[in-house]
Structures are given as structure tokens and as C-alpha cells.
């Protein structure tokens, strides 16, 4: 998913920028689009946004570090989000994180070396009835227990033919 390194260059950033008027109020939408397309916000992309909207780089960096939905580091091909909002927390989301940490060898905010998995906790996914919730890419896993984690990961690895 590391678009720039994969030789796609920065044309996709230009495409995204061209869709928006040069107004600062579209800043977040633009960053979200880049994040979605690329899995993270490459530095080169931020430079282009800075030029396009004429905003200080510090503003972009501030936003990129403020919102959990944005990331400056490449996410894994499987981006795992464990909800740690109140309802999930009470239903032992911590136990899920511990299990994932043990299985993947990474902590929240990190990506496995092979680029396959990344892990993060988020503050509320708005699906408290399903607590504890885990989201991998766009798929929701409801009422997860630490015991179920290994199976879920195994199924994903089965799907993964390496070029997602």
C-alpha cells in the first residue's frame, strides 16, 4: 500500500488535490482521501498539500498527529483497530490488545516488519452493543474474545496471497 515507494509517484496526490477547490476548509477531507488511498500520509504528499493550499507544514503535521484516522507511518495491509471506548474497555478490550501484542509482536501504533499487520486502539467506534469490537480494514468483528483472535488472524493469512 506504500504507493509512493511502489512507483506510483505522487500523481495520485495531484488527482486528489484537483478534486477540491484551493480552500483550507477542505484540508481534512484531502488528508482523509490520501490516507484512504495510501494507508498513510507520505511526507511528499504533505508537501504537495502544503503547496496547493498554502498552509504551513506545521498545521498539516498538527492535524496528522491529532486525528487517529490519520497516520504518518504506513499501516499494515491488515490494519487492526481495537476499540477501547468505555463499553469495549469494560468488556476487556485490553485483553484483546494483549493477545494481539503477543501474537504479532507489535504494540499499538506499530506495524509488523513484513508490513502485513498494524495495530492501534481507537476511542469509540460507535458500536457499543457489539463490545468488544475489533475492525480489520473495513470488516467489523463483534464480541471478540482473546481466544478468538488467533483464528481470525489465521483466516486472514489464508486469504492473503501477498499482493493486496
Amino acid at each position: 500500500m506504500d504507493c509512493i515507494k511502489q512507483g506510483e509517484g505522487t500523481t495520485f496526490v495531484r488527482e486528489i488535490l484537483d478534486r477540491y477547490p484551493k480552500e483550507q476548509r477542505f484540508l481534512l477531507a484531502i488528508l482523509q482521501d490520501i490516507q484512504k488511498r495510501c494507508g498513510y500520509l507520505p511526507r511528499e504528499a504533505l508537501e504537495l498539500v502544503r503547496e496547493h493550499l498554502d498552509v504551513p507544514l506545521s498545521r498539516l503535521y498538527s492535524m496528522a498527529t491529532f486525528y487517529k484516522a490519520l497516520s504518518l507511518k504506513p499501516k499494515g495491509r491488515y490494519a487492526i483497530k481495537v476499540c477501547d471506548g468505555t463499553a469495549c474497555h469494560i468488556r476487556d478490550s485490553r485483553g484483546l490488545v494483549d493477545a494481539l501484542e503477543k501474537l504479532l509482536g507489535i504494540g499499538p501504533g506499530e506495524t509488523t516488519e513484513d508490513g502485513r499487520f498494524s495495530l492501534e486502539t481507537v476511542n469509540c467506534l460507535g458500536s457499543c452493543a457489539l463490545a468488544p469490537v475489533m475492525v480489520i480494514n473495513d470488516v467489523y468483528y463483534a464480541k471478540v474474545t482473546p481466544e478468538k483472535i488467533a483464528g481470525i488472524l489465521r483466516r486472514l493469512e489464508g486469504e492473503d496471497d501477498g499482493d493486496i
Binding site: 507544514l57 506545521s58 498527529t65
Partner: protein, 250 residues
């Protein structure tokens, strides 16, 4: 608009901030995150006062509270003093090593045992004044990054900021003296960058960085940047007047 502050009647323009009205009338309200040159930050909350309007009392931050009707204000009631003491405790926990604490401790100290976790050695209370100053100058070299307990003031990617012109505005406005700025042998170091200082053509005192001069020039290509310190500038104006009078024969 009629505003009664601590029993004293003050005049205010509609929309004027309460803190400014009080100041103009010589009434003291403590502030930490306020600079007359910048818009209110409303982050330190030290400037809170009680506003009574239509028989109802509320607590507001006076630095961002516009006067829109006739109100009565108490800047130092029991309630306000109590809240301020809690604020001081919180500020102490966040930035015990900041310069602002000296004054606070003198006025409100000694503090009772702090039940909050104290960030030993920290000088910054995250008031945001430095970021505001840098933004107001149009340089925008620093910002607050991260959120919650990980929040801090930093340049992008925590690298020496390219956009910085070394003006030192952030360090000057900082109530905590939390931004390190050093000057040695005509070189100013701030945010891990070195800047060459330019001298006043009158007295030789260092007055601004080369990047600062270039920045001003770029903003106003027609204008000239006079390399004079405030003192020499004043002297020049006075001399100018004297010459002008001499020529008219007075």
C-alpha cells in the same frame, strides 16, 4: 455599556473583552496565556471572573468574554479564588519548572500536597501562546502535535523547522520560559537552528536575524528594512525634527 467590576462602574464598548475593560480601568485580573498583541487563548483559565447578568451568575474566562450588555463582575469572590487555587495546582502539576510558577507560588503558595501527578522538570503548560504568535507572524513554524497527555509544542516532524526565521517571538511570549533561545557571538540558536544576527547600524547592538530581514523584505518588496534598534530609531526621529526646525529658522 455599563459594567460594574468589583463595585466600580466602568465604561465599555459593545463587544469589548472583559479583561481589556478591567485593565483599562486599572482592575487587576491574573492571566497567564494572554498577550495584548494576540487574540485570547482561553487556555490557562486564570482570568476567570464571576459575571452576574439578569440575576444569574456564571463563571467565564474574561480574556475571551465580550461585553454585550450591562453586567456586574466579581474578579475576586470566594468562589473565584477557590477555583483559581485549583487551577494553580493543576498548572503546577503540568509545568512545575515553568517561570510562571514563580509568580503563582508567590501569590497563591505554598501549595498543599498535590494529588495530581506532577510532571517534574516540565516548563511548558501548553497554553498555545507561542503557536499563536508564530501563526500571527505568518511563519507558522511550530504547532501543537499529538493529543491528550502526549500533546506538545513542536516543529513539523520534530525537525529544525524550515519555516522558522529565528525571530524569537515564541520564546518572548512564553510565560514559562520553556522555549530555549541562546545567543552567542552573533549567532542565535532556537529550535535547533542557527541564525546569523544583524547589527543596528546606529549602535551595533544585535537586533534581528538575517532571515527575519529577508522575510520582512519579501512581504513588502517596495519598503526598506531599516537596521536600527528602537533607541536609535527614536534618536533618528528626534534628530530629524531638530533639523527640520533648524531649516525653518525657529
Amino acid at each position: 455599556m455599563r459594567v460594574i467590576i468589583d463595585g466600580r462602574e466602568c465604561l465599555a464598548r459593545r463587544g469589548e473583552y472583559l479583561l481589556d475593560v478591567a485593565k483599562r480601568n486599572g482592575i487587576f485580573i491574573p492571566t497567564l496565556c494572554h498577550s495584548d498583541a494576540l487574540p485570547g487563548q482561553s487556555s490557562c483559565r486564570m482570568c476567570i471572573v464571576e459575571v452576574v447578568e439578569g440575576g444569574r451568575s456564571k463563571t467565564v474566562a474574561s480574556c475571551v468574554y465580550p461585553v454585550l450588555g450591562d453586567i456586574e463582575v466579581k474578579t475576586n469572590s470566594d468562589k473565584i479564588r477557590r477555583i483559581r487555587r485549583t487551577l494553580v495546582k493543576l498548572i503546577h502539576a503540568s509545568s512545575p519548572a515553568g517561570k510562571h510558577m514563580e509568580d503563582l507560588l508567590e501569590r497563591y503558595g505554598p501549595l498543599p500536597e498535590n494529588r495530581f501527578e506532577v510532571a517534574e522538570g516540565e516548563k511548558c503548560m501548553l497554553c498555545g501562546l507561542c503557536v499563536s504568535a508564530c501563526e500571527a507572524l505568518g511563519t507558522g513554524a511550530i504547532s501543537t502535535i499529538n493529543r491528550g497527555t502526549a500533546k506538545e509544542v513542536a516543529p513539523p516532524f520534530k525537525e529544525p523547522p524550515e519555516a522558522c526565521i529565528g525571530c524569537g517571538a515564541c520564546a518572548h511570549v512564553c510565560p514559562g520560559d520553556a522555549i530555549e533561545m541562546k545567543e552567542q557571538g552573533g549567532i542565535r540558536t532556537i529550535w535547533d537552528r542557527n541564525f546569523e544576527m544583524l547589527e543596528c547600524t546606529g549602535c551595533g547592538e544585535y537586533i534581528m536575524t538575517r532571515q527575519q530581514q529577508e522575510y520582512i523584505k519579501a512581504k513588502d518588496p517596495e519598503g526598506t528594512v531599516e537596521l536600527l534598534c528602537e533607541k536609535c530609531k527614536r534618536k533618528k526621529t528626534v534628530d530629524g525634527f531638530r533639523d527640520a526646525f533648524k531649516n525653518t529658522g525657529f
